[in-house]
Symmetry: none
DNA sequence: GCTTCAATAGCTAATATTAGCTATTGGTAA
DNA sequence: TTACCAATAGCTAATATTAGCTATTGAAGC
């Protein structure tokens, strides 16, 4: 018997989730709320195994609520549900420790599937969301369409490590002026105008 | 009709995968090989929609093979299959552009599910592997032992994006001098002495 | 042989950054 | 209530960076 609590500020949706849970004999609805302001007290009282958490809610959003919850009750599973496949939100939810992420357009089968996956120790998410997560890693590997020369790459690496122009000149054994010139080319090729941007790209592109 | 090519150095497994594919009417086995040394030629000749790729193979491992493939044929889907839930391998596979990752212990249903998920534009993976991927984000974000304040973190993020002190002042709505001071503190806490180092740490710690 | 280009070296003016200070406000913990 | 500290604002001198030039050498490609 899986003990479930729902947080969702949209009443009709809360009702339909409640109906869904009551249909299956192995789910037990412990409670449902329109906001997660009292999530710690709720959790203490109702001891849910799993929480279905909306993101957009008044007072405190679901990700913030989950963050607070997880600090005290790290073992309570959380499935985030939201209206959009918002990359930013997905990543934030993951970082806050969500076990699952489903869309509000999910079918009953998809929702129960996600719950079951999570309760069996996996991650509950649709293939399309899983792909977004994977693509986050991938983003970086599509790297270097910048065709920097070897020297330019080497110097960018040193820059990205925090060395100054002079230090790079010493380390690589070329003059300060030459370092200057190489960096100039790097900036042109990367189409950036500051060290910060250049280092950011260097890291994104895994040049370091 | 989905055109599939198999790479696996283990003959019995290749045979069983072939049998599996021949069972379903919507899959067509275009070819199967014990190594991926000729993957570019194979792909040109057989034009697969999807490749089932073993990792451990003689000559060239499956991830390296996929990396080469994806440079020329980025649209050919690849599902990596391996014997273990090896975190490192999963992440490497993602970074090289895999669309799916399944275990050799996967059931026929799980394999066909993964293939279908991938061909429908999602990611093919079991919930347990999906969770590992999610946990990867988690690991990183918890990495910050620097205890920067919110403002300091925000400013560091902007710095890491390439904004100048002035631009940050404008964007955040505080004075140029204050930006200066925050960055000073950030440098102290991070124990660095240049923008490059600070941005490097920001990226390593996934503050961006 | 000619051309292109990466790598090297040099210079300079305009900005930006770094690091050294002081000081006020508002919130919070002892 | 006092003490601390994050956030804010301000100043300045010493360096560092950015971007605008010119110019030589050597290797690769045509």
């Amino acid at each position: 018997m899986i003990n479930i609590v729902i947080y969702d500020d949209h009443k009709p949706r809360r009702d339909s989730l409640e109906a869904l849970l009551s249909l299956a004999s192995n789910y037990h609805l412990a409670g449902s709320f329109a906001d997660c302001l009292n999530i710690l007290e709720d959790t203490k009282r109702l001891t849910p195994d799993l929480i279905l958490m909306d993101i957009e809610m008044p007072g405190m959003n679901g990700i913030e609520g989950m963050r607070i919850l997880k600090q005290v009750y790290p073992d309570v599973k959380v499935i985030i549900q939201t209206a959009f496949e918002d990359d930013e939100k997905i990543f934030k939810a993951m970082q806050a420790g969500a076990e699952g992420y489903i869309l509000k357009t999910a079918t009953i089968q998809q929702i129960t599937q996600a719950i079951d996956d999570v309760m069996q120790g996996g991650a509950g998410m649709s293939p399309s969301i899983a792909l977004k997560v994977m693509r986050y890693f991938n983003k970086q590997s599509s790297a270097k369409g910048y065709q920097l020369t070897d020297k330019e790459t080497a110097i960018l690496k040193e820059l990205a490590q925090g060395l100054s122009y002079k230090m790079i000149a010493d380390k690589i054994g070329i003059s300060y002026f030459t370092v200057n010139n190489h960096i100039k080319r790097v900036y042109e090729k990367l189409q950036v105008h500051s060290l910060g941007e250049a280092v950011a790209i260097a890291h994104k592109e895994k040049l370091v």
